[in-house]
Amino acid sequence: MSSEIQNKKQILVIGGGIAGTEASVRLSGLGYQITLVEQSDKLGGKLNQWDRLFPEQKPAKELQQILVKGLNTNIKPLLNTTVCDIQKNNGKFKATLSDGQTIVSDAVLLSTGYDLFDARKKEEYGYGIYDNVITSADLEKIFREGRELKTAAGKTPKRIGIIHCVGSRDEKAGNTYCSQVCCITAVKQAIEIKEILPQTEVFCFYMDLRMFGRHFEDIYKKAQVNHNIQFIRGRLSEAFENSDGTVLLKAEDTLLNKPLKMNVDMVVLMVGMMPSKTAAHVSSMLKTNNGTDGFIAQPQGHYRLSCTNTPGVFSAGACTGPKTIEATLNDARSAALEVAEYLKSTNALLN
């Protein structure tokens, strides 16, 4: 296919996080024209909310900079913009954006990412009610802003409980899937706490430790051997606030077969990934199906993971389910190739 033809092909990428930005860069490299719609004021998605990334604790900012470095004149990023309406007619997609623009494209790539689980839904853990219960995202924000880790009363916490699987693998929360990144995030954050507060005791309450990624097991071992972080196999049943603001945790230590009660100065909830509301809005207009987990379905299975049930509409990143950043980047590149192949085939049909 000549670059002339490719230049005429327009692709609308919805969501300017890791997957959307990376896929846009890759597709632009193949000669396509990209409109990249992002609802926030910055590309990079959740990267902008994170401080350091597992496994090597590299700054999230570095990766965000690498991603946006690839932007070029074939990519038109539209920040603070959302898709109000999108319809498919005669093989073309016509989208009306929140700024009033109309974009006509030959293909659409959904890269709407995920929403963080709202920890207030686990009411028994007291997030939003107890003073010293925060989420992994809150802790990351404290690290990112360089603030000291203090209790609500301004004291250095002597004991911190980290709770895994908050909103994941939890039928009561309506999410039976594993969010994949929480276990390693918990270990990363536990180490980061110990690095700044070596005297503070850190306890991780887990169901299973899913250390599937490269180096994950090594980090888990490092957490125990080098930092004396305690891992307790037991899901938190409930938390209560004591009169002094400390939090009473109740769990069952399933290795000891004993109920356990522990007072901690601070609790960090490892919130999981949820299907994003943006994805639900856009996919309903594009008539793409969702899986039973609420994420965008991948009807063509292993081989063509980026295809949705609507021809010309593709998916990339965590909009199809929880993923690490590495998996998201790979998925984005794969999706870019899938979109390119589709556009080639539609061009062949036109000829």
Partner: protein
């Protein structure tokens, strides 16, 4: 503790509570445990709030205790409940108000089950017809009696003589609330305020001028927990549960405990005596216990009813310290007189727990 967080949660757990025309179903055990509570509820609704409430002598147990101790099968429970509904239908009412928390939980469970398994409802109708030739309509509104007092809490307070304020200090009384497990733990959206931070009693306490005290073991069972108490061998678990709660709440120095279940006030009241005899420990001020009230008793006190007409002399823990704080007068001479003025006799004093 962020009260705003609780308020945001409470907004998600509001339920529809009928305004009038109630069919009342009494509890099997409350009239023995707290003899004037149900009478007071009827009195408040009829005389104070001018509501139409029907107290049907023909109704029976809901089978709650038998159901939760695996003595009766679900078909029996369904049929008995279907009969209760047929009595309501026959009397011309559509708003069902059980006095008992376990009944409320069981009615909720059966209605929910019929919603998801209509064949079970058909079966219940068939069994009821076969046994009694009765038919029924399902309630349009199901609310626990404490929901009704909650709904009219501001009207009650407006008519009241007293508030939950210490007359000496002018400060709100500190109140611990304890919700029966079957109120919302099974179906959080059927209870005012949900399961984790219920508001039904907290709302009454606030409306009556008191201050709700949250404490670490607030959600823990009162100690009734049917299998803990009904199975004699398990009674150690029962008293241990109550003890756990007392030890958790006592540092907050609550002026009293407010409850909405048949078993909770009974066990929280009587076990204080048992613990004092067994271990020499008391949890209230100056060797007394922490008074325990039902929501009807509390509403009655606010309205200025005589404490002995409310049956407060049948409590194990003396309520006089609480009455003194609020400034409610009481006659020590009439405390143990029966309805016809006969002397019922003063109970023997415990050896440790101080009583009036």
């Amino acid at each position: 503790m962020k009260i705003e967080g609780k308020k945001n949660l409470w907004k998600e757990y509001q339920k529809e509570i009928a305004d009038d025309k109630y069919f009342y179903a009494r509890s099997c055990i409350r009239q023995n445990f707290f003899p004037a509570s149900e009478k007071t509820f009827l009195q408040i609704l009829k005389n104070e709030l001018s509501k139409d409430i029907y107290d049907d002598a023909k109704h029976t147990t809901c089978t709650g205790i038998a159901y939760h101790t695996d003595i009766v099968p679900i078909e029996t429970t369904m049929t008995v409940i279907a009969r209760q509904f047929s009595l309501m239908t026959e009397a011309g009412y559509t708003n069902y108000v059980p006095s008992c928390i376990t009944s409320f939980g069981l009615y909720t469970e059966i209605l929910e089950m019929w919603e998801h398994m209509p064949e079970m409802e058909t079966k219940a109708r068939e069994l009821l017809w076969k046994a009694t030739k009765r038919e029924f309509k399902k309630p349009e509104n199901l609310a626990h009696a404490s929901d009704i007092i909650y709904k009219f809490r501001n009207d009650i307070f407006a008519r009241g003589k007293y508030s939950l304020v210490n007359k000496e200090t002018g400060k709100p009384l500190h109140v611990v609330e304890h919700i029966g497990c079957h109120y919302a733990k099974m179906f959080p959206h059927r209870g005012v305020g949900g399961a984790e931070y219920p508001y039904v009693l907290a709302g009454m306490i606030e409306a009556f001028g008191g201050e709700v005290i949250d404490y670490p073991e607030r959600r823990h069972c009162c100690g009734f927990g049917f299998r803990q108490y009904v199975v004699k061998a398990n009674r150690g678990f029962s008293i241990a549960s109550s003890k756990k709660k007392f030890e958790s709440m006592s540092p907050y120095k609550p002026d009293f405990i407010l409850t909405n279940c048949p078993g909770c006030p009974y066990f929280l009241d009587r076990w204080q005596y048992a613990i004092s005899e067994m271990e020499g420990i008391t949890y209230g001020e100056n060797g007394y216990g922490i008074p325990v009230l039902t929501y009807e008793e509390l509403a009655g006190l606010i309205l200025g009813y005589d404490p002995w007409d409310l049956g407060l002399q049948t409590h194990q823990v003396s309520v006089e310290p609480l009455l003194n704080k609020i400034g409610i007068p009481y006659n020590t001479q009439t405390k143990y007189l029966g309805l016809r003025g006969e002397d019922l006799g003063k109970p023997q004093n415990p050896s440790v727990l101080k009583v009036y």
